[in-house]
Symmetry: C2
Subunit: 241 residues, 2 copies
Amino acid sequence: MSEFHHLEPLVRRWSKRCRFSPDDCDAVRALPYTRRTFGKDAYIVREGEHTTDCTLLLRGFAFRQKLLTDGDRQIISFHIPTEFVDLQNGLLGVADHNVQSLNHSEVASIPRGPLMSLADEHPNIRLAMWIDTLIDSSVFREWVVNVGRRDSRARIAHLLCELVLRLERTGACRDGMFDFPLTQEQLADATGLTAVHTNRTLQSLRRDNLIQLSNGILRVVDWEGLREVGDFDELYLHQQV
Amino acid sequence: MSEFHHLEPLVRRWSKRCRFSPDDCDAVRALPYTRRTFGKDAYIVREGEHTTDCTLLLRGFAFRQKLLTDGDRQIISFHIPTEFVDLQNGLLGVADHNVQSLNHSEVASIPRGPLMSLADEHPNIRLAMWIDTLIDSSVFREWVVNVGRRDSRARIAHLLCELVLRLERTGACRDGMFDFPLTQEQLADATGLTAVHTNRTLQSLRRDNLIQLSNGILRVVDWEGLREVGDFDELYLHQQV
DNA sequence: CGTTAATTTGAGACCATTCAATTTCGGTGG
DNA sequence: CCACCGAAATTGAATGGTCTCAAATTAACG
């Protein structure tokens, strides 16, 4: 079992994007890291913290969020395995938002120093990292649009479309079907709605035969329909990069 | 007048952040660029475009936006001089959103190739550039929160607080007073509201003696009050970096 | 100064919220 | 395996913030 290296999925993802040399790949594999696990809703990073590591998600889901002073929560992004949940903290000194584990998750904590040195010394790796942060950024922009200008049906449909495409890449979604561990409250916090209205909106999407959702499994019944309702265009995911 | 180099403000901003060597500074100054001007509302970058340059704002304001299929517009960020409006396009192949000139503006178009080579060869410059894109990203996250979870008064107050702090750094805002070229429609598109409701909300902020706004000049009368109404915390701007 | 853009006002409709109660689900221990 | 429990999902009714549509007023500009 020690044949398998925990960072291998990261190597695969990055090397595909940036034509890594064998040396680049080995350099990533040589990164020091600590494996950690988190329970449901556990905090991985806290706003205001001076972070010392970057966190690569190995298993489970995670999400970023900010809390308002009145206690309201806005979820800013969801993350799936092989993604960093806080790569920006490699360069920014202080975390500007929280990161929580969505369900039971497993991560690799990589110290900032070695990670940034790696970037300094390997142009291809640096490029892959930078592009990761740029795609993050593009997703945030789309989320501004989503919560700013779309109605409840479109917001939720759009979010589901995004998850489908991202999960398909990792094989976690096949035939439009995947494990959907989000509670309706989390879905609400991600779309800027209330849990109650999220519930009614999901029912409306089900009624229109766009999706099925039960037992924590989501199935997209009508992809083109969902796409249309969600005003979805995947350009912003930059998946070809 | 040829004493003054158009990229000098950029050199100053970056070198302050990353301890540039004289050589770093000269390398930035040596960048090739084309000066261009744009009229009100003119497109600087269009979604879907394969961009060849990055655009540094020299004078005037600009903003990023996306259009929905139904024609609605969501503004994603505002930009002020010495900022790049599309630095991410140096690495991402295709523009995922539009950039428009807010008023009459002046920019320096820098070809991607030389700009990225510069980053490759100068660690400090690369760091400054990367951090620029990371701060962009942090601002987008805060905007997700703003349009997702705050009511109309808070959204507008928050946006005004952000503008004040950013403009103060460049000297364009003093004593809480600055040229405010945004129309109420643009303000609405940035906060996810309608122009009509933006108008009523501005009146409400004026009535509470938080701001004065007339003749395109905005004056923050009660900074602490505005800050409180907007639930504003400037951590996300990372201005100390 | 004339013409268009931008701001302002009013009234009514609607989408989403709030608050509360009920039902279902998922996990746990007896 | 069933009884139990808390969490999550669902439903209802009333409220409210924001939108829509239209018209009037004011400001900007050539």
